[in-house]
């Protein structure tokens, strides 16, 4: 039984310690990442438009479909 208790205690100390260490490292990593992004890859002011550009594949497909549909209609009318 003592063994169980010491296992629990150990788990608490190491577990909580590890969680704290990991998230601390993550704070530094995240802060560093944000700093690098902010310095070397600042976002252009016109952000909403940037969002739209993000899915060019889909856009292209839409465009393709539009062209195809137009073509089909033309040939049929």
């Amino acid at each position: 039984m003592d063994n169980l208790l010491s296992d629990g205690l150990e788990l608490m100390v190491f577990g909580m310690g590890f969680v704290a260490v990991f998230l601390t490292v993550l704070v530094f990593a995240t802060t560093g990442m944000s700093a690098v992004v902010g310095k070397y890859f600042p976002e252009e002011p016109a952000q909403p438009k940037a969002k739209k550009k993000a899915a060019p594949a889909a856009d292209n497909d839409d465009e393709l479909v539009a062209v195809m549909t137009a073509a089909v209609h033309k040939y049929r009318s």
Binding site: M12, G15, V19, M33, E43
Partner: protein, 434 residues
């Protein structure tokens, strides 16, 4: 006439046990809480319904072929099961026991014997094997949750990660409590069971189900029910603790506006997190890997159709099977136990300690940052229970300062709590399962 008697002898009304009646009422209670009181209905409706199904007498929906064979205990089948399991007793209970402790080859032989005897796995047992036994369902839910999570508030103020760390203290304190109770003989949990119970304090359903399915699958019913019920009770559990541990002045602290977070930061964050997990704690890789994958699909902007599916059709399908599968663990012989009471009690303790730890950490950070930077009310959001806990922080904050919207500030610790409990899960799987 013979057939009539046969029908009656096989009916539920004739065979139902007291335990099954109780568990059917427990299932109805869960449905009531889910439907009328809106307790996490997406999970508790399937869990409650699955619980009723699992307790239909003679149907054996929650049992494996071998368990169903042992239930009916036809002598020849018992003989071939005993032979398959290399035991001499043909007592059904001993056969079940031997089955659960058998080697993989004996296990397969016993299944073959049961199939040859004409028995089959129950429907819910099959769902459980595919959804939870494989660990796929909680991981896919986590992927969907990742695809729904916006890390913007966390990225704007990464220090809130400390709050998410502190709130996990509830997990480990509860583990200690569980082994303490066992040491003094009140309960009888081993370390695996204690760890699985502690994870209730993580306030994160899929994490709790994943850890429990690996460490203590027989407790899955109680732990999942406790986890989801207490998450639903966050608006009742947390406010008194929050009020008790904070001063009036602290509750009125107005936090700075969050800075704008760029798209690139959001895209890079799941990758940074994944690489840290890879370097520091591989045992958390399945959970956090799928979570980061979902979040990357969300943020990268080029796979929106996959992200939409992960957040909708896929997570809904998985939720249905996950819920029914958890419900299969609510069969009377597995749930009605003193352990369940212990689990429910320790679970709420875990929640309370986690809430308190988050608030105290917030107070400490506020002190260290000059006393006016962090409203300690956002600390309680560190337990996760997204987005309920953040909403509670916001609500209590508004009570004391009608101009102070804490919601966005509380979302940071809130999502940090998800990461924190996944890390805690990885540590426990690492130390306790091996």
């Amino acid at each position: 006439m013979e057939k009539l008697i046969e029908l009656f002898l096989a009916s539920g009304a004739y065979n139902i046990s007291g335990g099954q009646i109780v568990m059917i009422f427990v299932g109805l209670l869960l449905l009531f809480l889910a439907i009328k009181k809106n307790f996490e209905p997406l999970l508790l409706v399937p869990i409650g319904f699955g619980g009723i199904l699992a307790n239909i007498p003679e149907a054996g929906l929650a049992y494996s072929a071998v368990e169903n064979a042992a239930h009916f205990a036809v002598p020849e089948v018992m003989n071939s099961l005993a032979a398959a399991l290399n035991i001499t007793s043909t007592d059904p209970k001993e056969i079940i026991n031997a089955y659960h402790n058998s080697s993989a080859a004996e296990h397969q032989a016993a299944i073959n014997a049961a199939l040859d005897g004409g028995y089959a796995n129950g429907m819910l047992y099959n769902f459980y094997s595919v959804a939870i036994g494989s660990t796929a369902a909680p991981l896919l839910i986590f992927m969907g949750v990742g695809a729904m999570t916006d890390f913007g508030p966390l990225l704007a103020n990464p220090r809130t990660l400390f709050l998410g760390a502190a709130a996990q203290f509830g997990i480990f304190a509860t583990v200690l409590g569980a082994v303490g109770l066992s040491s003094i003989g009140v309960m009888d949990f081993n370390i695996q069971e204690a760890a699985a119970i502690g994870i209730i304090g993580g306030a994160d359903g899929p994490t709790a189900i994943y850890v429990t399915s690996l460490l203590a699958p027989h407790l899955l019913g109680a732990i999942a029910v406790a986890a989801y019920s207490y998450m639903a009770l966050v608006p009742l559990i947390q406010p008194p603790i929050m009020r008790a541990l904070t001063t009036d002045a602290e509750r009125k602290i107005k936090m700075h506006q969050l800075r704008h977070v760029t798209k690139l930061e959001k895209v890079l964050f799941p990758i940074v997190l994944l690489i840290l997990v890879a370097l520091l704690l591989p045992d958390a890789a399945p959970l956090l890997g799928m979570f980061c994958f979902g979040n990357l699909m969300r943020e990268c902007g080029v796979v929106d159709r996959l992200s939409d599916t992960a957040q909708n059709a896929l997570i809904n399908i998985v939720t249905i099977f996950l819920g029914l599968s958890v419900g299969s663990k609510l069969s009377a012989d597995k749930f009605l136990d003193l352990q369940t009471l212990g689990i429910m009690s320790l679970g709420i303790v875990a929640f309370c300690i986690g809430t308190a730890a988050g608030i105290l950490m917030a107070k400490l950070m506020n002190k260290m940052m000059g006393g006016n930077a962090i409203n300690p009310l956002i600390g309680s959001a560190g337990v996760s229970a997204v987005p309920m806990a953040a909403r509670v922080s916001n609500k209590i904050g508004l009570e004391y300062n009608a101009q102070n919207f804490l919601l966005m500030h509380a979302m940071g610790p809130n999502v940090a709590g998800v990461i924190g409990s996944a890390i805690a899960a990885g540590v426990m799987i690492k130390f306790v399962s091996g």
